[in-house]
Symmetry: D2
Subunit: 314 residues, 4 copies
Amino acid sequence: MGVLGASGYAGHQLCSLIQRHPSLSLKFATAHDQRGTTARIDGQTIPLLAPDDAKLGEAEIVFSALPHGSSHEWVTRARQAGARVVDLSADLRPGSGVDGAAYGLTELSRTQVAGAGIVANPGCYPTSVLLALAPLFAQALVLEGSTITINSASGVSGAGRSPRRELMFAEVSEDYRAYGVGNTHSHLSEMRAFTRSMGADVDLVFTPHLLPVARGILSTITVPIKAPLDDVLQPWRDAYSDEPFVELASDPPTLREVVHRNVIRIAVIALRETRVPTLLVLSALDNLMKGAAGQAIQNANLMLGLAECAGLPA
Amino acid sequence: MGVLGASGYAGHQLCSLIQRHPSLSLKFATAHDQRGTTARIDGQTIPLLAPDDAKLGEAEIVFSALPHGSSHEWVTRARQAGARVVDLSADLRPGSGVDGAAYGLTELSRTQVAGAGIVANPGCYPTSVLLALAPLFAQALVLEGSTITINSASGVSGAGRSPRRELMFAEVSEDYRAYGVGNTHSHLSEMRAFTRSMGADVDLVFTPHLLPVARGILSTITVPIKAPLDDVLQPWRDAYSDEPFVELASDPPTLREVVHRNVIRIAVIALRETRVPTLLVLSALDNLMKGAAGQAIQNANLMLGLAECAGLPA
Amino acid sequence: MGVLGASGYAGHQLCSLIQRHPSLSLKFATAHDQRGTTARIDGQTIPLLAPDDAKLGEAEIVFSALPHGSSHEWVTRARQAGARVVDLSADLRPGSGVDGAAYGLTELSRTQVAGAGIVANPGCYPTSVLLALAPLFAQALVLEGSTITINSASGVSGAGRSPRRELMFAEVSEDYRAYGVGNTHSHLSEMRAFTRSMGADVDLVFTPHLLPVARGILSTITVPIKAPLDDVLQPWRDAYSDEPFVELASDPPTLREVVHRNVIRIAVIALRETRVPTLLVLSALDNLMKGAAGQAIQNANLMLGLAECAGLPA
Amino acid sequence: MGVLGASGYAGHQLCSLIQRHPSLSLKFATAHDQRGTTARIDGQTIPLLAPDDAKLGEAEIVFSALPHGSSHEWVTRARQAGARVVDLSADLRPGSGVDGAAYGLTELSRTQVAGAGIVANPGCYPTSVLLALAPLFAQALVLEGSTITINSASGVSGAGRSPRRELMFAEVSEDYRAYGVGNTHSHLSEMRAFTRSMGADVDLVFTPHLLPVARGILSTITVPIKAPLDDVLQPWRDAYSDEPFVELASDPPTLREVVHRNVIRIAVIALRETRVPTLLVLSALDNLMKGAAGQAIQNANLMLGLAECAGLPA
């Protein structure tokens, strides 16, 4: 395996998962700004190459954890060198306007992923939202023309590892704020494209927030539905009862329950005293695991014909 | 002034504000479980009495920071002893089923507060939500029959100071969760009663969350409106342009901007790409200041004919 | 395996390690206050028994994570029922005045542990201090009659899981303090007893501190030595070069490097400009892993003739 | 007043204190990297100038919160323009090799400060250490030739506001580490110079640590003394009984007790079971207040003949 962009949080998590994986091994890791140095990951020392020095063709799968905008070029180079690619950037995802990649929301697209040359690994927010909503879309339960209101909160590692004043400890600690407000966050087009592809005719309102924690995303979603459900969890049971990485919970899920694990944990509650029957859907995941590197390994396992759970902490 | 329940976070903040106030002085402070001990507040030592030992009638105003359920009895006792009362509990608030108190959402009910024998000080969440929404209600701009979706997140001091495992540092740090889900939180009836009193015919969906911070509440609210507004902030300017404790912001407000201050900070954004014109209203306040003790002092200032800002950090 | 006291942090960590261990399985877990309920550990549900209902004799090894003072009785009961015991309490450690247990500072007492009926698992602070200092004691390098100054800082999980006001999030966050000051902390007698057993004639000054983190201990130790060392790390290399759970570092170790791992990480620096040659020894470990449950499993592995590393994240 | 370097934490705190001060007003504030923008401080908007555009001579006192190394030049310029200067950098402090400034450890040098043209405001660590130790030096109680061991821990704001990866939230949260180890920290020469000036013949061992908090320094100091003291606090009472900004405590001081206040809080404990009589001296202060901007205002009050406490939260 090769990892492009190994100095960021997702790239670092990828290297760690590959090292602990029973069947994968790390051929190279690149980090442009730290080329020539080494990274210490789980007690092992890994050399960091300049991207140009990576022998892309020697890796069966190249993972790109490069920034949005610069990833696409390297995905193309890696493909031309003969590697298959899992791209963790937004460059090739639904809504990006670029075709050619399978969308790697693993539980919902196993066949496409298994045979793909390029997998566009979903964004952390879209993973937390779309896996939570897909069972309602699949059974066409959402009220047509209604608005799904999504409030998500993410740990700081989701904002990347490049030094920025607003991400420093003394700024973030004891603080909390919304950002990307007014339906302007770049992940919204990915959510909309997937929602439409599932046949849902709805508006989405998405407001992300920055949490004073290192890892984790909690999404709090209200969904108007066509009619009350006798058993609100039934659509999720129908969709996910055999899924090793999807947990259905009776209590609201918490970040503590999911960090450092490749799972999404979902709870569903019927709201009291609303004219339109409405569900509250809550989901929690680790933005670096199921929301990024973990799901990337899950996709790679499928691409390589390995057990889907191999090397992944459930 | 007298403070009942001085050992909790709100009671402690009340004592601190009274001590620093240019015109008020603290006659007594009670704390049932710590009676006979002292509290150290801003470098001064305050004796904590048993409630039965407090000479209620000697305080011009008695503040009750007692728990919900046990406050009502002491409010009655203090009134009978001749004191006026600001009750920080929910016992006498709108929606509680008990009449006889003026609702102390100061900016919206100055006349009633000024002459009241009992003021029901609003809850921390209702303050953050109702001050944020009132300008829309006042101008009848909210779409009738629609649903207002409220996601709030509060610091841990909002859950009180009694030891509970789920509030311990090693549980809360690096965690985040929703609670009181499904429209079951007790503050919802207070919000509904006030919303109805403003003539708004809407559903409310309210989901509170527990933040790993000590202080502060951020509310993220989506409101369908009848028609797009040319200037989204205009209703708030109309309502609050002369208010010393309401700040209108162009950027999303943050907890850091409001903690330790008696202000609410509000931003309003028009949402893009929704069928129904919808506003995103964000508000931030310190749950122990504008959400509790600060607003209580603001009300007391009015009751005593003092400058409303006296002793309050803006 | 059986775990007594599974509802605390160390007991919970023990259950988790046993569940993930390739050769061990959990026969029972007790928790007096939560008897009859279940615990959710790594996605599995474990029944919590009353201690009296545990079939002590059915476990090859019983781990006691009971509080100091109440553990001794249960250690005796478990022995009488035929089990071997690893006791995580202080009841049977050096300095406790009670004999009969092997001291389980694994790297330094493998033979005694392997054959022991009872192992007294070291305290978290003593593990961090004694493994750091032992190489100097072993080579008699410490200046006789001098004072070793130990400043340690521990995460909040070290104070246990019973609800206490001073451990609540809103009290601990953004705070830091010393406690057990003046050489009064109970772990000091354990450190002294071991230090004497290594032949060192020194005074110890030990000041623990409470950190606003969930896990981890950092010990900062100054040690006067008889003569300057050409290579300050040599004594540690001599002692630990083949140890899988001891890491020697050139930079100051950090909590982030060791949490969730069963390691101690040690750095040694010669102090400049001191009359008496003096070393600064720094050690970091996870108080619930190498400082408690991890080391307990390490000892159990030895007792059962398993690979010492089995089931332990290095 | 003028503030050079207003965009850092100390500069920001200075502007805030000046704005709230009853007798001072802010003439200008500079911030090279943010020149032309504004800062929002306590609800007021302050223009940030390029340093070259500041009319240095129009401020009675210029505070320099510029980085070490670049401050000296601006101190000189401000003096030449006719202003008096309080320099918060290390450029002119004892041990820097540059003379000409009064050392502004206020409680110990009031006369020199009052008449000074330039005051070198002490470092945050030296303030926490030297005010804690000075009473022992003053009465010549420290054992000659012995070693004073100083372990300090500081909040992240002490490391400045320039973006650096190791200060980002996701790196610092849940972490703790020593830095500047081996007696290499730049503040040590300042401590040594002052210690010598008090006539003490001792070695200092100083190890600073980085705490996951925004503000505050706790210093834990062991001091061998010539003979046991009947009343360990007496030297501190002798020195500080009338000091408004020095608090003597019977319990270990905590950061929570001192943040946002211009105080140092000190406790002293006799260590048990040491051959050489030894004291444990603990001190806590807010690194941005008594450790920087607060002490700078305290010095400015003296220079201007104002009440020393004016505008300072005790």
